[in-house]
Symmetry: none
Subunit: 221 residues, 4 copies
DNA sequence: CATGAATGAGCATTCATTCAT
DNA sequence: AATGAATGAATGCTCATTCAT
């Protein structure tokens, strides 16, 4: 929904806008964020911002969509469908963690969509994000079953939901103060160690998932 | 942190303030919420609001703390430590769902703590909420192990974290537009059916958890 | 349409607002007028202005309605229905002129309603102003006819329209630069003498009207 | 005052600018009108507009002058100085009405000059418009007197002023919401019938003027 | 000559907070 | 203790005008 002009400007300028808007929206949330500050931070004028976007909401939606799209591209780029499902999972969790650490604002923008007052944004953004991921998990599970490495009696929808829920919570635990503190409490680690802790626990987490899903007959044979 | 006067006023007035503030903060989020509207909705004057609370943040903190405390009391009241762990889990999930449906605002207030701009609130609120829950799960798991119904080789912290994460996501999926849409996509149901869907899936979810944790030797014997 | 609060404040403050708003709206027109300047000029805060009025339009409408109502009250107060119609006319024109000179802003507010972009205001204001005046003229003319001093064959509606049109143009000629220059050109006088010129010509104008309307039979008899 | 470039461009482009600017200034008034919209409507760039005109005011002045000049040319073209004065009057009113109906924007531009905030414009525009008309009426009246068809005892300046005032009000009553409503109230007709009503009343209006001015001796003889 | 992206002063309106009554 | 009028900083957005291309 950004105006035509936004697609015409230099890549550099467009990037600065993405970065500044992501940073400030991520830090302050939609309502508190200040469009003037975003313009100043991106080193453009307020007027230009409104040449590129219809209004604050349009800017927010655009930058959030961009953030989500980048996150997805990042994950998609490392998925190897020929890999064993559980190895894929591990790659996804590790790569996701890496991306979130390097792009905290993007994860925060994602987290904010679930907030009060963001219902309109959720209606416009959520489906396009989640459907892709849900479909991936469901298909990968089906394939795992037909490949004989996953138990055929699982509830695919439920398992997909559970796996992605754990992914979401882990990633948000990097960028949200609340979830950081919560994770620190569960794992009994200091704030500064959260990222390392998460990374070190991914193996174990995928192990638990594997233990629940793996086809035992397969294992025995 | 509310002023002393807040504890002196009639229970009815205090309740009205809790209800109105919860409703409006839950609907709009902290930044967008309007203190005048809260005062009007609670049928008190703006001046009184500022007699009871230092500022908007104090009001928010107070009402959120109240909401979280109510949620906890509700869960605690139905926990029966003598029950089988998995049955306790099922009770907790069902009771939590019921409470969230009846007190959507409370769950929304909880969800909002994880938002951008709420870091200060998280620092003040999160620990007191999560520690209690984390401790419960860890102790219950330990007891399950010593009772022989839970495999002794599990990572207690991790399992506690996973179980509560699923609880949190399920509850937030009732009240957050984003998570509702997401859950609808995973389970392939319409928005209107979300609550029923969650309720109907709790059995299966606890079943999966049980399958992963249950002590097989015990089962075999 | 002003808010309740506007009726509650001190008369002095209310007057200051009327005066400042009338002055600035009259000087700049609706679009160019600055609400901050009005507040400052009235010695109140911007916030208060918006406590009293919903928005700029509401303020404009309120102050214009007040201006028109004052103008009318002023004329009504000197109309003596027992007087000869032509003498009434003369009183009205003279009194109107005096009021306009002393309350230029009020006349300017009236003049502005006819401007481009003021259609919405006209729809809300015009009828209530003009109906009263139109009715007065029509009734006074009817009475003049039945009293035998006005020719019975006149087109009452047309004559009422003509008389009021001349009144309107004369009054606006005091306050509108355009109409001042125009009147100066017709009467061949300098700008500084406009008011005196108008006053001195009222006799002649009413004389012309009388000449057109007076019942000649009556005169002859 | 437009820049030289404005006289160099194609007639078509110049016309488009006149039409678009007249339309938008007439609709919104000077302050509210948007130069970007005018440029877009005229199918030229904003930059070009500022190549042709110094600023918004220059554009306004130029287009208003053009509008007034067109109005005058239109009237002048049908005046037949050899005609009886009252027949000339009738022609002028009828032709003026026709022109206003077909060129509403031009009449609105004229009407707007009398508005608050337009004083500078009035100083630059009014005289050149009104002097021509005032002179015409004064001369025509003098000729009428010397021809013996108009009473020699009239106040020529006053009569010229009155006649033109009625012309002005009638014409503005077509294009100004305020004056339309007002006229509708005096003549007791619906808005949709205003134009027809004015046309049908021109005969009567000129009749009244004739009755006041006509030389009775002439008539009797 | 023409273009339209860029600028930033300017403005209507909101809202947390204070304080006189 | 309660009230709600008063305050003014803050903010989203507009638009006349400029200027590099």
């Amino acid at each position: 929904m950004p105006r035509e002009t936004f697609n015409v400007i230099s890549d550099d300028k467009r990037q600065r806008i993405y970065i500044s808007a992501a940073k400030i929206f991520a830090r302050d949330g939609f309502a508190k964020a200040n469009t003037s500050e975003i313009a100043k931070d991106a080193n453009i004028s307020k007027g230009s911002l409104y040449d590129y976007f219809e209004n604050k909401e349009d800017l927010y939606l655009t930058v959030s969509t961009h953030a989500i799209s980048e996150s997805r591209k990042n994950i998609d780029s490392i998925i190897d469908h020929s890999m064993n499902f559980f190895d894929q999972l591990k790659s996804i969790f590790l790569q996701g963690l890496k991306f979130v650490i390097e792009n905290r604002e993007y994860a925060q923008l994602y987290a904010n969509i679930s907030t009060s007052g963001m219902e309109d944004f959720a209606k416009k953004l959520t489906l396009k994000v989640e459907k892709h991921t849900a479909d991936y998990y469901k298909n990968a599970l089906k394939k795992g079953i037909s490949d004989g490495i996953i138990r055929p009696d699982i509830d695919i929808k439920m398992v997909a939901f559970i796996i992605n829920s754990l992914y979401v919570i882990l990633m948000i635990s990097v960028v949200s103060e609340h979830y950081r503190i919560r994770l620190g409490e569960y794992f009994e680690v200091e704030d500064a160690e959260i990222e390392k802790e998460i990374e070190s626990k991914i193996d174990a987490l995928v192990g638990i998932i594997r233990m629940s899903l793996e086809n035992r007959k397969e294992t025995k044979s």
